[in-house]
Symmetry: C2
Subunit: 341 residues, 2 copies
């Protein structure tokens, strides 16, 4: 038998920790026979939560971390203020080779800062790590990057985001020769802001054209219609795009729910339509995917939604597993080495 | 009786011109007894289209313009290449005081360039005109600005967009003391890119705080939940936000339509749910609003969607009417004069 994939889960990560985190971890070891989960956090709290579920299964252990990073903690403060947090201890296990991946539904900024500056650090050649998300539509998956790690970026950073995400699409998602595009306000030349113009120029003239499959600029709708396998934006714009999509999705489903309540015919209609609405909702549900891979650090890191439910946690662990199996860190290391030659 | 409101409609504007444009104009003169529509475009084509609808009603005239600007025409070229286009002639009528407003569903960039540089020009003090859109949710209307006039902006321009849009919300939409916010990737301080930081600082220290009602930063979801009456972004980010929202809305309704087709129970469910779905769809339908006001030029200009149907055109004319009634151009002129003092 091959060695198990050792995944650290921040048991104090989600908004409602530790319940969704612990239950998600239990689901994960059940679903993935090759996964070993290391729950990191306050041992007493974790043990109490595990006890609710009966006997703790094999392929699961606890590593104690006495401090908890909240969503309110400032990322720049966390290393100094909370050196024994579950984020610090968990990422330390990956750095020290005692685990293969780190998963958290906790403070994104703190995880990012801690992974980049204090523990894993950057893969040689990587200027800035980037946060990617997977948008699944019509059986295809689009990698949207950066959704928030870098609010202000330079063309060379975006070029690296493109390379790292293309490798992610290829090695982890299995997309052959992924097409890579820049997010813009229109496909035509002349559209785009200065950053998009400069980056498009760089992508056209760099090894993106020969080594990778740069196809030009796309609009937000193209993230959904399969026009590109990877869509690159600066972290501010990518964050606005993904949050705008989530906002309208939430609005539509909430409004439908309200409309349906007041009226019997609507209620019957909604019941009949339920399977279709459910499928649609799930397709747009971020929990289905689990979390956002942090690309460019020396280790697999997946950051889930704060409001993750157990399934969200389980899927984030599954995503970490696939990233380890795909050898994404090694692939980015090689890609960066080739790129900087 | 008061003077009629004279609104120029670009009859060659929409993707399917002149049918939706002419029919929308006819609907508008029927719905608004104080509106006089001047159809600008190829006289023969317009007359032929009008003939399909029987007798041309009073309060409607044609002004001939022999050239047509297509969606493919480069905005920077249009003034030289097509000096007698419907856009040029129509905006000229407003500049010359022969009409009160200009409405088109045609080439946005060309209209913007022609209005700003060749005809109406900027209101004194305005550094850059901005394109706003109205997002209607739960009985409230949010003005989102800029959705595409300026891909790269400076804090002082965004400050002016905030002032102009606040005046639009107050004078045209009737919102008392509109709340104004900056679009960001999070409400917390520290979130946002450099432009957002610098603009927030400027808005806090300028007369925005005393004269206007600046409330801080908001996220995309706040455009929909009534958290702010005006949301300000640079034209690149605003365009990405609105296009991301449209993309998910379209995706959801298209997917529902496809799902429903294959299955009888779903079909019955959808029929029962139809009124609720319809209402929801209409709430998100840009045609319900009509178009985007171009703020900061010396005249009322409304730019509709290229794919406008007759109702979209009619509503864009209605929007131009309200903007004229609200005296938006005079209000911005005054606001700018006060601001630059």
């Amino acid at each position: 038998m091959t060695n198990p994939i050792r995944i650290v889960l921040d048991a104090m990560g989600s908004d409602n920790y530790p319940a969704p985190d612990v239950e998600g971890a239990l689901q994960a070891v059940r679903e993935y026979p090759d996964v070993h989960v290391i729950l990191v956090g306050d041992r007493a709290i974790i043990e109490k939560e595990l006890a609710k579920h009966g006997t703790t299964p094999p392929r699961m252990e606890i590593v104690h971390a006495p401090q908890i990073v909240s969503m309110e903690d400032k990322p720049s403060n966390v290393a100094r203020a909370k050196p024994e947090s579950s984020i610090a201890v968990g990422l330390g296990l990956v750095r020290d080779g005692k685990a293969d991946a780190f998963v958290t539904a906790g403070n994104t900024g703190a995880t990012l800062a801690y992974a980049t500056l204090n523990t894993l650090r950057r893969i040689p050649g990587v200027k800035r790590p980037a946060l990617a998300t997977l948008v699944q539509v019509q059986g295809r998956t689009c990698v949207l990057v950066d959704i928030g790690a870098n609010a202000d970026t330079r063309p060379e950073w975006l070029l690296q985001f493109a390379i790292m995400s293309s490798l992610y699409a290829e090695k982890v998602l299995g997309t052959p020769r992924p097409s890579v595009a820049l997010l813009s306000n229109g496909e035509e030349e002349g559209k785009g802001n200065e950053l998009v113009h400069a980056t498009a120029e760089l992508l056209r003239t760099s090894d993106m054209q020969s080594q990778y499959n740069f196809i030009g600029n796309v609009e937000p709708k193209d993230v959904l219609n399969g026009a590109a396998d990877v869509v690159v934006a600066d972290g501010f714009v990518g964050n606005i795009a993904i949050k705008s999509m989530e906002a309208i999705g939430d609005y539509i489903f909430q409004t439908l729910r309200t409309e349906v309540k007041g009226n019997l015919l609507n209620l019957i209609g909604a019941m009949l339509l339920r399977p279709a609405l459910r499928r649609l909702y799930h397709r747009l549900d971020p929990m289905e995917i689990g979390g956002a891979p942090l690309l460019g650090v020396n280790g697999v890191v997946i950051i889930g939604h704060g409001r993750s439910n157990p399934k969200g946690i389980k899927n984030a662990i599954g995503q970490a597993r696939r990233a380890v199996q795909g050898g994404i860190v090694g692939a980015i290391r090689e890609g960066m080495a080739k790129h900087s030659e």
